[in-house]
């Protein structure tokens, strides 16, 4: 699974961190940071949840 994050779109809602805090973090201003662009497949459900709740549609998942 390959994850991409568009930081320019991020609106700092922090919901990706709530969904999968081992894959996403936030910088000091709340902008999301991608910790793991290729999370293991057993993290798929939470990463998909993160992408689904991102209000800015800033998270994309491939594979």
């Amino acid at each position: 699974m390959k994850v991409t994050l568009d930081q320019d779109k991020c609106v700092a809602s922090g919901q990706c961190v709530v969904a999968a805090d081992d894959v996403f973090d936030q910088d000091d201003d709340g902008i999301a940071v991608l910790l793991d662009p290729t999370p293991p497949s057993d993290r798929a459900e939470d990463v998909e949840q993160a992408a689904a709740v991102c209000p800015a549609l800033a998270i994309r998942i491939q594979g």
Binding site: G14, Q26, D29, I31
Partner: protein, 407 residues
């Protein structure tokens, strides 16, 4: 008449008035007429106070798509914007602006709302909640939960975060209430807004002179650096102060009422030690109650097609998230309060770039409140009939004016 030009939906001449009334005796459900619009189609027309007929986007998937669509504008000064009341003044907070200015101003205040910083506040919020419950238990075994608990919790928290003296709470709570009331006269609302702006501006002066470790001082620094005008800083301060206490207060009181009316669900929350279950319960209560019930407002800046129909550039759009959260395509048996369901994809905080900035704080406060109040006062009960309660039908934020409880 030989031809019909579809300039705004075939049903436009008979478009129902919006907002619509809720059903008597069903204080937690969206207006039945609004749900009927959802059954009838994805894109409907409604009539507003000024006779304009904006589009109503009824379904969850379309609501999300539209709120995240850069072809829509939240700029209240744009022709066609479906405002809920006459637009007054020329200065607005960033929630009524578009990017890039919206993003520039929003990013100035996001730092205190990161998940880590909100989590760091949890022990302090727990202490506030426990302290207010101690006070309730020390007095007679009955209270108005709104005044004794629901309003003070978020007011104390947002005052601390912004750097607003809590001693002024009567003043800002009273004026906030007028400002967001649909039944208040425009002049009254204008006066309440002016008072709040004046108050925040004066406070900003103190913060600029003597900065402290709080959000308003941070804005004061931006004013000093020329990144923000003092008026813009005051507008942002008013926005955060109101959004910080009104919304959460209503979720606490209305949520408690909903749980008292669903004792099996209340028991689930009271008897659970699992933070994940509590967090899930908060999401379901947010979905079910959806207290910002006035519909998100936008205007199309380009033509947008939805379900075979076209919203033309310049036409107004209303996105009623309360019925989006009751869309049976997304939430099975949507009118049932079910704390065990996965409700995390609800749109109670809106969607798109304007989605609620304070949501991590709201969630944490509600998690602390809901996991503490019913456990510490297990005999909590409603001290009035449901029919005796008065609900905020006229407010931008729905809730209950008073909640008499006993234990």
């Amino acid at each position: 008449m030989t031809s019909t030009v579809r300039t705004g939906g075939a049903q436009a001449p008979s478009a129902p008035e919006f907002p619509m009334p809720r059903a008597e005796g069903c204080p937690f459900d969206p207006p039945p007429a609004l749900k009927k619009e959802q059954e009838q189609g994805p894109l409907r027309k409604v009539r507003l106070w000024d006779g304009s007929t904006p589009w109503l986007v009824t379904r969850y998937a379309d609501q999300r798509a539209l709120l995240a669509d850069p072809r829509t504008s939240a700029d209240i000064t744009r022709p066609g914007y479906p405002s809920s009341a006459p637009v007054r003044g020329s200065s607005f907070s960033f929630i009524l602006m578009d990017d890039p200015e919206h993003a520039r101003q929003r990013r100035m205040v996001t730092a205190p709302f990161t998940i880590k910083r909100v989590e760091a506040m949890r022990p302090a919020v727990q202490k506030i909640v426990d302290g207010l419950i101690d006070d309730m238990l020390a007095g007679p075994p009955r209270a108005d939960l709104v005044q004794a608990f629901a309003l003070p919790v978020p007011s104390l928290v947002i005052c601390e975060l912004l750097g607003v003296p809590y001693a002024d709470h009567d003043f800002f709570q009273e004026n906030s209430k007028i400002l967001i009331s649909r039944s208040a006269a425009p002049e009254e609302r204008g006066a309440a807004h002016a008072k709040l702006i004046g108050y925040l501006d004066e406070l900003m002066g103190h913060k600029i002179a003597r900065p402290a470790d709080d959000l308003l001082s941070g804005l004061g620094t931006r004013v000093g650096a020329g990144e923000l005008s003092r008026r813009e800083a005051a507008e942002t301060g008013v926005l955060l102060l109101i959004a910080g206490h009104e919304t959460t207060a209503n979720m606490i009181a209305l949520g408690t009422l909903a749980l008292l009316e669903h004792p099996d669900q209340l028991a689930l929350l009271r008897d659970s030690d699992d933070p994940k279950a509590v967090a899930g319960a908060v999401e379901e209560l947010l979905r079910y109650l959806n207290i910002t019930h006035g519909g998100r407002r936008r205007v199309a800046v380009e033509d947008i097609e939805i379900g075979g129909e076209v919203i033309r550039a310049g036409e107004g759009i209303i996105v009623p998230n309360d019925i989006g959260n009751r869309d049976p395509e997304v939430f099975a048996d949507p009118d049932r309060l079910d704390l065990g369901r996965d409700a995390r994809r609800h749109v109670a905080f809106g969607f798109g770039v304007h989605q609620c900035l304070g949501q991590p704080l709201a969630r944490m406060e509600l998690q602390v409140v809901y996991s503490t109040l019913y456990r510490r006062i297990p005999t909590l009960r409603l001290d009035a009939g449901l029919e005796d309660l008065s609900f905020k039908h006229d407010g931008a934020v729905y809730g209950v004016y008073e909640l008499p409880v006993a234990w």
